[in-house]
Subunit: 470 residues, 2 copies
């Protein structure tokens, strides 16, 4: 009884969990109350709780996840070459166009993706003008397929057509390869759906001038360790998704001594170097396929609950899970919460788009924001928020990276290997930081910010996983 | 009486200031005690307290300091050229050798400085071998003079001889210039006192191959804004004294498009680019003269108590103060507290040496460590320490930089313009991070760490300042 007496005699200090109504009522009566943002596992949904129960602690899942984590840790992506996509990307036959995110038909594609595809048809010479391009795209003669199903990734619309040169990243540990186009820079660019003649002629310059010079330099270098470069960039304020200034700088200083030994004439060399120097995101198109090469090595391990793909096509968000093979779990893509460039608002924003969330899937990007405080000037929020995002991601991951560390967290490894089960049991969704595309083709980037995947992708994947162990 | 009663009835929670004896006694009796590391202004020294009293709040000092702060803020150092020292450095006539720190005679010079001077005599062809060099150096025929008195700065021994090429930094706001040699890289180098034939031939290569290529590139560029480059590097994990990886990267990407347009043959270009890429401290020899150009603009303002020079020659530490003109206030240099490379200990260390503390004098380097957490792997301490060092320096500075900001501190400007009075009234000495030279000539760097200036430099400057306003 003494404790009860104390409770009623003393001043109340209340911790409220769950429904906020109690907290509000108490606060209104002047009672000190701390509101804990708690929710029951799996939102209290009994089907999901059953699925979680079935998957938690299963030795086959634990072993599979240890294997996945070990493969992620051991993978070493190296830039080895740069070739036309049709020569190296598997399944890139005939009139195939790859795009970002999960599968999507022409009819359901968003504005920027449609524009980018029309641009690719013009670039390939399959159409002579906008009208022909639109008709051809809608005709059924073009095969549209996700980059992710062809060992490739692409930022924003993520379009890869057969003639486009792609970086070749080889995971020298496991032997798999990943591909990505070169970054076009800012402003009016194909990946945001622009397809005007200047956009196409820049792509042609990249194919005929930039690519040959870079190809020769990369070959002379004998291979560039992109894992090591990402590790350094993370100590230099990049998170290697929306801040790539250090990565781009490191790439230039590494390539320059080889570039000057190529057959490229001096004026062209100067153009090539200025082009890369003029675009702090040039390195994004290397960090993305490096991450793809890492995560593909951990994909397809039976029973593993590690999320190996998060990708968006501007209409749908889709995830894939190591133990569930090539099945996509999709839901409508969200609008990004972020900072808009002058003159634009969220009304201009296309829903979340691009394969660049492969960085978060690998434990960098939004997962490494604690090490990239300057990025808040670009994606919004505070420096403290950036630290909190990273710290929160340890709740839903299985490991801390051995390669990628964060000085600000006393060199702790970044949160790596998202566990589908942890996402559902904690209710914490992955944090992705990303660029925002205008919803109309060709306007370009209108801002940058933060977004989370739709929860239902993870719910459906969890149910499928549980189904598979029945 | 009620308060007294409460005091003796309740549990004591004591705040102890000053002598630690009281705190210890209380703690021994189980009393909660917080020990505040307080000391009386000027260490309680009555002469210094008088001097402080005389200088505090004087309108002429306040106005002079406002002017100094404004000049520091407005200064914009730009890299405009690279020329042989004898062509551009004032007073570099006949057999003059410049060195780091305050004035020092051959007899009192430390090992690394003697070695570097002997190397310079060999490099200039004024001596044919070690023996001749030592004899000439001791003969009185060579004029030794501090870099700082010739608008120049040099890391470690800081030797500048007439034939050495020097970067020319122009403060385009105020028109003054500053000079610094090119960084030779790591290992056996002149600035650590090495003078073997390979050291001299590398210096000759730098003079005859590296310098002409860089000179042409710098001239083609029309000038490179080093203030802007430092500002970016500070957002990329550099503090621009002992971590210059981002600065060096930014320099390479900026110079490369011009370098390839010079008349330099491709193989030489590759050597030049590889040489710079191989040395993450290359940018130090630009951040230092940029800081010198900034601080020289604030030097020589009557009544200003802003410290405009902190420099060491390996024997003495010296400071100069804006309002006290060219007078040096010196005291024996300290041993650096730091991390040693394998095989070395503090017994191998030369006392603090070099002009690189010009970075701290300008509010970067040790003053900006909060933005460079990765540096603790090099200079020791923890990431939290790095943040504390920066925060503490706001106690002794007059302003926050408008150009140089720290993302980790929510983009607060770095602590800038050390006020002699604040150093003495708070008892807080500037934090300098620095490389550690072996005490014998030519061994090279043996570690890196943190050091503070001798307090007596500031005491004597304060007394001189007070004297001047009698």
């Amino acid at each position: 009884m003494t404790n009860i007496k104390r409770l009623f005699d003393g001043e109340l200090q209340v911790v409220n969990m769950g429904s906020k109504t109690f907290a509000k009522e108490l606060a209104a009566q002047g009672v000190g109350v701390v509101d804990v943002d708690w929710q029951p596992p799996a939102g209290g949904d009994s089907r999901l709780l059953d699925a979680l129960d079935r998957l938690e602690g299963r030795e086959e899942a634990e072993a599979a996840n240890r294997e996945a984590v070990e493969r992620i840790a051991a993978a070493r992506p190296v830039l080895v070459d740069l070739q036309a996509a049709h020569r190296v990307v598997p399944g890139m036959t005939g009139r195939t166009i790859l795009h970002a995110g999960p599968p999507v038909t022409w009819e359901r594609m968003c504005g920027p993706m449609r524009g980018a595809i029309m641009g690719a048809l013009l670039y390939e010479g399959w159409a002579r003008d906008e009208k022909e391009a639109a008709a051809l795209a809608a005709s059924g003669e073009i095969v549209f397929s996700p980059c992710h199903e062809h060992q490739a990734v692409g930022p924003m619309a993520g379009i890869i057509s057969p003639s486009m040169p792609v970086f070749i990243i080889e995971n020298v540990t496991h032997g798999n390869r990943a591909f990505c186009t070169m970054n076009e820079g800012l402003g009016k660019v194909l990946r945001y759906g622009a397809y005007s003649p200047d956009v196409i002629s820049k792509l042609k310059w990249m194919e005929t001038v930039l690519a040959p010079a870079l190809r020769e330099a990369i070959q002379l270098s004998g291979g560039i360790d992109i894992r090591a470069m990402i590790a350094q960039a993370l100590h230099m304020g990049d998170e290697c998704h929306n801040r790539n200034k250090a990565g781009t700088s490191l790439l230039i200083r590494t390539l320059a001594p080889y570039l000057v030994r190529t057959a490229t004439p001096p004026d062209t060399l100067a153009q090539v170097l200025s082009f890369i120097d003029g675009n702090d995101h040039f390195f994004l198109n290397l960090s993305m396929p490096a991450c793809k090469a890492i995560m593909d090595a951990a994909h397809g391990i039976p029973h593993s609950t590690v999320v190996t793909t998060m990708a968006r096509n501007g209409t749908d968000f889709g995830i894939r899970v190591s133990g569930l093979g090539d099945r996509w779990f999709t839901a409508p893509a969200e609008i990004v919460d972020g900072l808009y460039f002058p003159g634009y608002t969220s009304a201009d924003a296309n829903p979340d788009i691009g394969d660049s969330a492969i960085t978060e899937t690998t434990g960098i990007g939004g997962f490494a924001m604690a090490g990239a405080p300057a990025i808040v000037q670009f994606v919004g929020g505070t420096v403290a928020d950036a630290g909190r995002y990273t710290n929160l991601m340890y709740e839903i991951t299985l490991a801390e990276s051995r390669s990628f560390t964060i000085p600000q967290l006393n060199f702790r490894g970044t949160p790596t290997a998202i566990d589908l089960r942890k996402v559902m049991s904690t209710g914490v969704l992955p944090h992705i930081n990303t660029g925002i595309a205008h919803r109309e083709a060709g306007v370009g980037q209108v801002g940058a910010g933060l977004v989370r995947p739709p929860r239902v992708c993870f719910e459906n994947a969890l149910l499928a996983m549980a189904e598979s162990v029945k």
